[in-house]
Symmetry: C2
């Protein structure tokens, strides 16, 4: 169906040409000029993240119509001549824009054979192709208004029978079940409402007791009865419970639309950056209860934020769907995690019972059920099952490699007929965890980044075009790739000790590159990336890549056999595919084969909220997935060691990337030597 | 099947002849002589209830072998001659026993055309025919031992999957569901037990949320996992929650046998004798919660008694099944009862969710589910549905009238094809409630009773042959019938003011008859029945009889159309059918058509514990039963007024009883006038 998850129509496009390099890009009408440059792979100095205060991104509009705020960084005279701040300018027609010499970077390497032309690619998570299809809007919880005949001596059915009869007559609901909680309030609600009420029915019926998925053919369960017609207010909370970050969406089950979304660091992080340290903490006295209460308090905070953002009320929430890795799901439900950590790595259960959300401490009405995605193994959790659901991998013939980049990197290989998975402990680096100035993709996070390899001046674009406060995942990918491309770090991730600029300096954690000076930053302090940060990023990308390679080889496949690669993860708006390839995070494959899903786990959660029939697929996915254990796999360890290099020790694995880097390094060398043709 | 409820083989029979009246009866070898006399309708003076202390029941053994305790009431010389105390004597062979003149009553009316020969009939509840048949021993909860392979790196299934796999391999259990509570303890139990555990599976799977009956085809639910093999300890508690009395059985689900049974007055009774006054109390602030806690504390007391009696432990309890009237069930679960009382008499629900027993306050392990029988209407409750189940009425073609004699008299008419029911408020009189010396059928309760109509001396037999402490239901029926037959009270239930004996005297509540003098009683005080007691009994029997008549007539049937009458109620060992007819409690029908079920509600509860397939029948019975409302039924009110007479104002309804009473009264008159042939 052309449902709420489909593309919402295409905005008008404009053609934008950057001079003097003649780089052309098609962008949406209204696009921001600085962001368009980033997307086109064109460097414009910009240090304030796009807020308009550094005044470095001055450009000349040579042709076309723009909308641009007049700022104090541009004099009246300059403005008349066509000078604008790129970050404050949006396109209204086809345009030609000239970047002045002092703001430019190197002429981009535009060799299409190297497939590196469109260096940055703005891909909005929900506008990409790889989504589950063919699901009707049939929410996990429905609200149905009913008007009942009041009882009389000739018609003195019980309240429940009367309500059931009304649901049958008005809504063709054949059979319902109901709990004591509802029965306790039913007589009063029916009578105070003069027999006009709204009932909430859920498609799965057994909180507290059952693996709900197995019960998909059961009668609907009546979980709430409210006075009057409240059927227009029917909300669900979709959750992705990450080790580092908890992401949440508020879904309107009536319309299928996401009405609010937000994210917070998982408060458990205080007790350990990864699942292993969490499990260790959970074994301490009261540790498990503490970690449960921390993730629950994170969820409560998020739900409060959703309510504030949407103007909704908690009493309209009908259900919660949560996807998380196996440890996160165990801790949310208060289950023992010890044996997940100890060999042979055994979870308590893969399929989890439905529970009443309030019983685990989530601050929502008593009637709200919490569905947790089933896991496959100790290190392949419900978040992956959810991602495979949301991405539609389970529906298509195309042989797909699905990579979920989170604290734990999980990868899935397969198609509609078979699925295999593996987990490789990446650590939280690409979520900003363990990175000195890492942060989530929220206001002020550096998400786009370029370096002028001669001046080492950056082009910084932040979420919301605010002064930079830190660096999020996509920013870290860009940063690492640009440091490598500019020759600031070597292929081992170590700083090259040429004092090319005062942006490179020694620090407490080895050398560091100053991404943003304190004067330009939102924190007032310098924002840096250190050699230790880089080590963490290299280890993370190494683990993921080695995992992919091991998984492929265990089925006698190679990257060349893949029809597509889906990249999931809670990135911001940008995913720097080419830069990801450059650092060896992603395989060196044609850009057309890549799809960016965004937070696939959250997407699957939302899908289950909206279409309860998907529960059947969830069960099928979880049951068909074969886990390939990497933790004691020698092939994986070998591959991991080989992957601790940028992009990789085996150059045959990154042929295009290798050529591109060589070409760029040559250009950079010549530029630094003052060669005119490099500029 | 020849299951645990079937007849346990027949004991050897003896022929006993009472002289001088030549009354012969076949009784079990080992039978007590006093009880045998009561059963034969032969009077022997006895005032101490059968304890052997009054010394009045002296008889001469003329032939045959007996076992008799030598007491101080019989001299050496008398003993040699063959004198024995009847209450201390049991039969070892065919015997002839002579009752001396001072101890005898009138010569019994033995006219077989009047069908009054065998005046008392000892019918043990569970040895009668009308029981449900064809049910396999397939308990509501099973305990299965499993030995699992410990996990290894090559076999690292989740704990739950491993357990499920074990159940499939060892017990062919295909699918199970499980709740969070069980998952929380599972890892520890499995490991501490070295992977040898016992699981408890219940056949219905949705505590807290569903009308369980609808879910009979669902997977088994895992409710408990214990270390080691505990499968031999698997108990269920079957409950009949009466307005006045709560009866309970402890059922061994492994063998199908009842291992202990007991009963207590419902502690709610303090707040009202019948459901109406309870409902009124429930409407007061905290009233409903108070009544819930009182019935729960009664149940807790009973369960403690069961444990003491059986030597069992609560942790072996796997499930609880409760049958009660609609109000009792609502109060047990904490539901609003107000609209049961107010026209148009609407319960919250007929079908109740399964709940965790501990959640309503019952002091049993968390894993114990409480199943409540469904009701038909506000005044036809789960106790009746349970009785119809236990009695097998729903299985047979025979047109049956089922009468449940409790605080609320409920009657059911029908067979396997159709069922109709009605409720008539009897009050608690026949349970001993509202009767000055009424009591439950426990030790010392007068259960059998005769009067010598000349001397007015009684023959008193008590439960356990202890000194009398009060009068239970069957004793009250006997007492009322005997007072009427002896002409001590008239057909309006009023004392005839002839001072025939000092056993008749004025009292605070009108005239009264002294059933037992203080010197003979277990309380040290006189035990009496008052005119007010008699009024209560007459109203109770009048309501029941009028209800039966109204129900029959509403289907254009009469008593003559019935194939059988089943009488249910928590009586003791005796049911005084003939005497019940004499007072108009039971219809004047051939004795062969009557069957005594005992506590039918408790029987149905036990049956569900033992055979979960019966849940389907429970649902069918509750759904097929048509309720005939008597509360605003003019025909019923007319019939009730007519029934406030002993046996009834319409003599055509009691032709045999009428003739019998006339014949007896004539005999009594002649005897009192000193006529020899009356003696």
């Amino acid at each position: 169906m052309d449902g709420p998850m489909a593309h919402n129509g295409s905005p008008e496009k404009c053609t934008l040409t950057f001079e003097p390099d003649r780089v052309t890009i098609r962008v949406d009408r209204g696009a921001n000029l600085l962001e368009a440059a980033l997307e086109a792979g064109v460097h414009i100095n910009a240090t304030c993240g796009g807020q308009g205060v550094c005044g470095k991104c001055r450009v000349m509009i040579e042709a076309g119509e723009v909308d641009s705020e007049k700022t104090e960084k541009i004099s009246e005279e300059e403005y008349e001549k066509g000078w604008r701040q790129a970050c404050k300018t949006s396109l209204l027609s086809d345009c030609t824009v000239r970047i002045p010499a002092e703001s430019r970077g190197l002429r981009p390497v535009m060799d299409h054979k190297l497939d590196m032309g469109k260096a940055e690619r703005k891909i909005e998570a929900l506008k990409t192709k790889p989504l589950a299809e063919g699901w009707p809007l049939d929410p996990l919880a429905v609200k149905l208004p009913v008007q009942l005949d009041p009882p009389s001596l000739r018609d003195n059915l019980s309240d429940l029978t009367r309500l059931s009869k009304g649901l049958r007559q008005h809504h063709h609901v054949e059979e319902i079940s109901v709990g004591l909680r509802c029965l306790k309030i039913m007589p009063q609600v029916l009578r105070s409402a003069h027999w006009v009420v709204t009932v909430t029915l859920t498609g799965t019926s057994d909180p507290e007791t059952v693996s709900p998925i197995e019960h998909r053919q059961r009668p609907l369960q009546l979980v709430r009865v409210e006075a009057g017609d409240t059927s227009a207010q029917n909300l669900a909370v979709a959750l992705d419970i990450g080790t580092t970050t908890v992401c949440v969406e508020l879904v309107d089950l009536k319309t299928g639309r996401v009405v609010a979304e937000t994210a917070e660091y998982n408060r458990q992080a205080e007790y350990g950056a990864d699942v292993i340290t969490r499990i260790v903490y959970a074994q301490k006295p009261e540790g498990r209860a503490k970690l449960q209460s921390l993730v629950v308090s994170t969820i409560n905070l998020l739900i409060d934020q959703l309510m504030e953002e949407s103007g909704g009320t908690k009493k309209s929430i009908s259900c919660i769907v949560a996807a998380g890795n196996t440890t996160m799901t165990h801790l949310l439900l208060g289950l023992e995690t010890r044996y997940i950590r100890e060999a042979p790595y055994v979870p308590v259960a893969n399929f989890m019972p439905l529970v009443w959300a309030s019983r685990v401490g989530i601050d929502v009405p008593d009637c709200v059920q919490l569905f947790s995605f089933p896991a496959v193994a100790s290190y392949v959790g419900g978040d992956i099952v959810s991602g495979i659901l949301g991405s539609g991998v389970f529906q298509k013939e195309a042989l797909t490699l699905y990579m979920d980049i989170g604290t734990n990197g999980e990868i899935v290989l397969g198609n509609r007929d078979w699925l295999a998975c593996a987990a490789c402990s990446m650590g939280p680096a690409f979520e900003g965890g363990g990175i000195k100035h890492g942060m989530r993709a929220e206001l002020g996070a550096i998400e786009g980044f370029n370096i002028n390899p001669v001046t080492l001046e950056p082009m910084v674009i932040t979420v919301g075009r605010k002064k930079p406060r830190g660096i999020c995942g996509s920013g870290l990918i860009s940063l690492l790739a640009e440091l490598l491309t500019a020759g600031i770090i070597d292929q081992n991730g170590k700083f090259v000790h040429d004092r090319l600029s005062d942006r490179i300096r020694p620090g407490r954690f080895g050398h560091e590159y100053v991404v943003g000076w304190g004067e330009d930053s939102g924190t007032g302090s310098d924002i840096v990336i250190t050699e230790v940060d880089i080590e963490n990023l290299v280890r993370a990308k190494g683990a993921l890549f080695a995992g992919c390679l091991t998984l492929l080889e265990s089925f006698e496949l190679s990257f060349g056999d893949l029809d597509r690669v889906i990249i999931a993860g809670a990135f911001g708006r940008y995913i720097n595919l080419e830069k990801g390839k450059r650092i060896g995070l992603f395989p060196d494959m044609p850009v057309e084969k890549f799809h960016f899903l965004g937070n696939g786990s959250l997407l699957g959660s939302r899908l289950v909220c909206l279409s309860k029939g998907m529960l059947r697929e969830v069960e099928r996915i979880a049951k068909m997935m074969t886990n390939v254990e990497l933790s004691d796999n020698h092939a994986f360890m070998d591959k991991y060691m080989g992957a601790l290099f940028l992009p990789h020790t085996e150059s045959r694995l990154f042929p295009h990337v290798g050529k591109y880097l060589e070409a760029n390094w040559a250009l950079v060398r010549r530029a630094r030597e003052g060669s005119k043709d490099a500029l």
